[in-house]
Symmetry: C2
Subunit: 158 residues, 2 copies
Amino acid sequence: MDNDAKKTALRGISYGLYVIGTKTEGGINAFTANWVTQTSFAPPLVAIGAKKGTASANEIHNQGVFSVSVLESGQKDLAFAFFKPVSVEGDKLGGYEYATHTTGCPVFTDALSWFECKVVHEYDGGDHVVYLGEVIDAGIHREGKPMTLAETGLFYGG
Amino acid sequence: MDNDAKKTALRGISYGLYVIGTKTEGGINAFTANWVTQTSFAPPLVAIGAKKGTASANEIHNQGVFSVSVLESGQKDLAFAFFKPVSVEGDKLGGYEYATHTTGCPVFTDALSWFECKVVHEYDGGDHVVYLGEVIDAGIHREGKPMTLAETGLFYGG
């Protein structure tokens, strides 16, 4: 296989950019991710990829839940805030206001919308763990155009 | 759960649009899909969703391989051709010229690029089967901006 071709072809996959919220033993956490796709309507299932061995991946494995905040086009600041480790200060996580609903995972007030998942399956055969979650709660903050990875100029794939 | 909120939030996930090529017993087939994401760099893994019970899903299950052709922005004709059952006529499938490489699954000459996968895992707990494939071959036809589902005005999610 031509590795350059593999990298370029895989970078042809289009993505959005999301903040994944997790629950920890006694706390919460969040990270930015683009490897997200729905995989079933009934039940509503969503697959995400989380880097193996990270706190976030372990939290999803241990707690069996995660949330997804759908960002709006232009919200680079919110997306980029969760590329690094973050902490809770008052009513904010990583500097952004959040709420919790059914699972206890944080969803961001500034996001367009959110949904929460209960993990129904996981596959850890790669350097990221694939978590398949059933959507068990969801909410809308406002209408808007979702953020794409392409608009950030970044790649995470290849 | 508020079903309208669930639908709207899930439609906030951003997608590209791809033609998935399959191999059959003695033939080839293809279908258009948007539920595609990379899930690992090493090994390079990609997850796709294929509607359970369809010829395409059964072919991937039986043959253990699939291909992904990455379409270019504007190639609605190519994308829409594979929403319905197609057949081979001469050197064309569904009216579009194709080639085969490592797996025998068709990749389209008009696409920007392609990659082929060997199935390493599947999960059939929903109305679509999730196939996780390891990328084993890839090629580039030309540079260009990949097609997004958003540009078609269609949704497949929610």
